[in-house]
């Protein structure tokens, strides 16, 4: 499938992203120490061609920031980001431009991600114009048709002159995906691609992403919906307060969760079948804000199996011995 052997499409090492918390004039004058939102605190992962990695977690865990950092839409404080073997961590906008073709972002809101004034044809053509691709107008139109066909908006002619407000949410999202694939990218980052769509429409979009994955694209999907990740992802990485606490093949993580947070999370996901009600481990409270990270293991205040050492030791991701490429960060394993 990939000519580059097993070299990952994107490899992230010890990524750290922080945002300063606004101090205001009073704070500055009073010389209060600058506080930071520790959005991402040292994570490492990779996505191969033809692989769909789901980054799951609750709000505030840093998954969206990670996606933005990978796309260089946000500056990392430290760490390394490699795209197809090349270090892109510190590249500036000029050098990044050719890369923008190869990495595309799909947004959560299909109602807002398309310019209401542009027809479908214009919206899908625009990336080609920006990057000066596709030759003549007819050649570009052909590419637009192809892209619409790939996202299953068939026949393309029916959609070319439509405007976003004439399309359903699912169709709009497909147009957004078409505008992304028309450039022939290698990596797609999908930020909650279906959370704003009706249930009966979601599977279509996700199956489309799955097909794109089979064609060799690498996909990094951000989602809070564990069921979606379980069914569509190859690998799952669970994030909590800026760290990956568990990572592995979707089957392993869902079928054999190791980290207490993953276990609790999975136990409270509602099931379709009323007969399948497992014991729910409901954690109390909510995740603390990312400004004041707990000492030691950041999960220890809410952890059902925390011991004294958990307050001191910040665990690293370690292989769990189930034979698969499955790792978790917990000293109790």
């Amino acid at each position: 499938m990939s000519q580059n052997g097993n070299r990952p499409l994107i490899a992230v090492e010890d990524l750290v992203v922080r945002y300063p918390v606004a101090r205001g004039l009073g704070g500055m004058l009073a010389r209060r120490p600058q506080r930071f939102v520790h959005a991402v605190e040292g994570i490492s992962f990779s996505v191969k061609r033809g692989e769909l990695l789901a980054l799951v977690g609750e709000s505030g865990c840093g998954k969206t920031t990670t996606a933005q950092a990978v796309l260089r839409l946000v500056e990392p404080v430290s760490g390394r980001i490699e795209f197809d073997g090349g270090d892109i961590t510190t590249l500036q906008s000029r050098a990044l431009r050719p890369l923008r073709r190869r990495m595309q972002l799909i947004y959560q809101d299909p109602y807002e991600s398309l310019d209401p004034r542009l027809s479908v044809r214009a919206a899908v053509e625009e990336p080609l114009q920006i990057h000066g691709l596709g030759g003549s107008k007819t050649e570009r139109l052909e590419r637009v048709r192809e892209a619409l066909s790939v996202v299953e908006l068939n026949p393309p002619e029916l959609f070319l002159e439509r405007y976003p407000h004439e399309l359903s949410g699912g169709q709009r999202q497909r147009v957004a995906i078409a505008a992304s694939v028309v450039l022939g990218p290698d990596l797609l980052v999908a930020d909650e691609p279906v959370s704003m769509l009706d249930v009966s429409v979601r599977a279509g979009i996700l199956n489309l992403l799955d097909r794109l994955r089979e064609d060799g694209l690498g996909i990094l999907m951000i989602t809070h919906d564990l069921s979606t990740a379980a069914r569509f992802a190859d690998r799952i990485a669970v994030m909590y307060l800026g760290r990956i606490v568990e990572e592995g093949p979707a089957r392993s993580v869902v079928g054999n969760p190791q980290h207490p947070y993953t276990k609790a999370l999975l136990s409270v996901v509602p099931r379709r079948d009323p007969r399948e009600r497992s014991k729910r481990e409901i954690l109390s409270g909510e995740a603390p804000d990312a400004v004041r990270i707990p000492s030691g293991c950041r999960f220890h205040p809410r952890c059902p199996i925390a011991i004294a050492d958990c307050k001191r030791i910040d665990p690293a991701l370690e292989r769990v011995g189930d034979g698969a490429d499955h790792a978790a960060a917990c000293i109790r394993l």
């Binding site: 609750e58 009706d198 979601r202 279509g204 809070h224 609790a264 999370l265 379709r272 007969r275 729910r280």
Partner: protein, 322 residues
Amino acid sequence: MSLLTAEDLNVWFDLDGGRELHAVQGVGFSLEPGERLGLVGESGCGKTTTVLGLLGLLPPSASISGRVLLNGVDIVAGGEETMRPHRWVDLAIVFQGAMNALNPVKTVGSQIVEVLELHERARGRDARARTGELLESVGIPANRAERFPHEFSGGMRQRAAIAMALACSPSILIADEPTTALDVMVQAQILELLDSLCRDFGLALLLVTHDLPVVAELCDRAAVMYAGEIVEHGPMDALYHEPRHPYTRLLFAATPDLHGEGVPASIPGTPPRLDQPLVGCPFHTRCDRAFARCTEERPVLKELGDDRSAACHLNDVVAEVV
């Protein structure tokens, strides 16, 4: 006599140019004390309009017909006058997005006190004491009453909204998408809260949502809505294991499950427009089992025994598996 019975509820919205949108078409269901009923459907199916109609909270462009019997008494018949005494007192609602609808410049406690005083349940010190009780019953420490909404997390704001709904000790609580914007762990907390409130206070719960697994977890029975009408109604178990309407079956099939096998599949097509008269079954253009009769004759919601009903011609064909 049920606690709440809706009979043949219809809602129309006036549109520009003299047309009408028939948003709710002949909806009926009943709710017993302490029962949890789910009203499930996707966007535009009319579920929110139905419950707003139940409470008489529709905009001026809407007109309503049908009966809403509260302990046998029709509260809609006399218009706003008959409805108002029951609103919040017998039937309370946690609106969609209620957690974002708290007044940002007033403390959470004062907003609950306001509800109590408005409905003449308590005044002054008594009201504040009762507010503390209400907050504790939803898992918020009473001393947080003096905080402002922005100091609460999303989950806590939702709890506060639930406390507000319980202020007048209603017998029926309607929750419209109570956990949609919340994280999965907070969702579990809220669902557990609703569960225990129903048990402890004998509340009947009408849960309106598009999320089938949430309904499966919390409710005993559910009514599935499509294009403004109820297409299937029955116990949760039966709906999943033996659906009697293709939409129910396909909706479950489209919902990813954590441990289930197989890949979810979309339902092709889009729901019909409700501003035009419908011919035949509203679902027939998207149905994988449609046949000739489906394009001509609109199915009626029929009782199928075992407390189940469905609106599908396939049920008339004996032993046909839907």
